[in-house]
Subunit: 312 residues, 2 copies
């Protein structure tokens, strides 16, 4: 398979073409994904999550520079769930791509589209696998961290970085236990702003109140990504966690978690697709829809009927 060989060699055009197929949910992508899978598992995956405007992209760019300076190749997957309010991100990504355009060691992919049946998480997982097979040493997955899919994507990374900014919430109450579960490394970006000390303290306090289950003590870093301040510290924190996570059975356990996540997402995606194809093929879907719309039956009974016809 010519295309697969080209991707294993890191050919940019072939990578981009396969990723478009993945994003469109095209069946042609599947043989390539199957062929590439045995070549995955070498990349180190870092999830970077934070609210819109926290400077995630700039921080990721700085991390990319730092890892490129260490001679490592980098893949970036920017997950932007279809949202009317983050439209600016697309423009930003174009600028970013231009910045790294001449560097063959960096590949950036923005994931924005999402079909009627979801599939963003499934497509993101596939794109990460492709970058892994293509030999990228480190892969950053950037998400806005809203929605369970994106949180799952980040949780499944080897190291998860949570980015915050001063003044986002002005009390420890706004830092929920949930965020403590996610982060291996916390970053207070825009740390030259008022309130940075307070935000660092709030995170440290919340970490004390919700000690993580494993032996890793999450680090808290300060950065000013626009100037590059604190990025070396952040790299050190990521590498410290990587060292920690790879000791013992940490890496194998993380890998199994990610595998489970990938498999469940794919299963959800494929199940819905097959079931709808079947239901549409035998014409039962439209009829049921009409009956529910006329309130002659209810959604639960209708879905049970579809599942029944499928023998489930």
């Amino acid at each position: 398979m010519d295309q697969v060989q080209k991707i294993l060699e890191g050919d940019v055009r072939s990578l981009a073409r396969l990723m478009s197929l993945i994003e469109n949910g095209a069946a042609e992508a599947i043989p390539a994904l199957k062929a590439l899978y045995p070549h995955t598992g070498k990349a180190y995956i870092v999830g970077i999550t934070g609210p819109p405007g926290c400077g995630k992209s700039t921080l990721t760019d700085r991390l990319t520079e730092a890892y490129r300076a260490r001679g490592q190749t980098v893949g970036i997957v920017a997950v932007d769930p279809t949202s009317p309010f983050t439209g600016g991100a697309i423009l930003g990504d174009r600028l970013r791509m231009q910045r790294h355009f001449l560097d063959q060691g960096v590949f950036i992919r923005s994931m924005a589209t999402r079909g009627h049946l979801g599939g963003l998480a499934r497509a993101t997982n596939d794109v990460v696998d492709v970058l892994d097979a293509a030999g990228k040493a480190i892969i950053f997955i950037e998400t806005v961290g809203v929605g369970q899919d994106e949180v799952d994507v980040v949780k499944a990374a080897h190291t998860s970085v949570v980015v915050m900014v001063p003044g986002l919430g002005d009390s420890v109450q706004t830092i929920k236990a949930g965020i403590m579960e996610i982060g291996d490394v916390f970053v207070v970006n825009k740390a030259d702003r008022d309130g940075a000390d307070r935000t660092v303290q709030d995170i440290e306090m919340a970490l004390m109140m919700n000690p993580p289950g494993n032996a890793w003590a999450p680090r808290v870093c300060r950065t000013v990504a626009t100037r590059g301040d604190g990025v070396a510290d952040l790299v050190e924190a990521i590498e410290a966690h990587r060292q920690f996570a790879q000791d013992g059975d940490g890496r194998a356990r993380k890998h199994r978690e990610r595998t489970e996540h990938v498999l469940l997402e794919l299963l959800r995606d494929r199940l819905a697709r097959r079931a709808l194809e079947r239901a549409e093929a035998n014409g039962s879907l439209e009829g049921l829809l009409d009956r529910v719309a006329r309130r002659e039956t209810d959604p639960y009974t209708a879905v049970e009927a579809i599942l029944g016809k499928l023998g489930l």
Copy 2:
């Protein structure tokens, strides 16, 4: 069924109990949902979406006051996808509930939890149906508008209100075509801030560039929700769209769209649940996971195997 009768009469405790069952995905909720379904279809559903911090909740409270003053009962469903960054919303909702506590004509439900297999959209749809059956005349669904699920929820409303604030994006380029499809009414909240005129112009320009497919010309309103300014205009705009949408076959079409959305969400939810139960019951899931984790097979082949065993 005693519980169903109580809900039809609007009993607050019974409503809250059923909604908790729905949120937890408990099977006990299903008979009640089936029994309530024939009583749905009377409420007018308004989706309100906008980025965090745009003042959605305050605006919804003002709209609630306005509709209560018109003698209508109100249901509010605040959708907050599990997010570490919107943790503050929970506290805010408690305060809101206290504000309307003595008013039996208002019921507020915050949807925040979401199981491993998703289901937020499914639960939100069910809660809206319950409020509808309980006789609420108008139901507001509030979402942050990030993620396809939430956008779908809002699209399926009878009238969709998109809330923006001055200075969010400072160019028409940040207002994507996607947002134009969603909004029947646009609100520039915090309209006393600098840049409000510009934001209104940007929206109007974008509407001109992306004229909506139907004959309705979306309205653009200005509000200062904290002071109640412009809320009367907003109510008028919502009512104008309601009038428009109910003429001809508009309401029936919207209803069918919402039915389709509800049915597909439920189908996805139930399919994944059944398939996993089956796969776990015959022990094939763990074995496949192990094989994928060891890269002896790939996720696509593994999922095909599960689908094959299910006869799909």
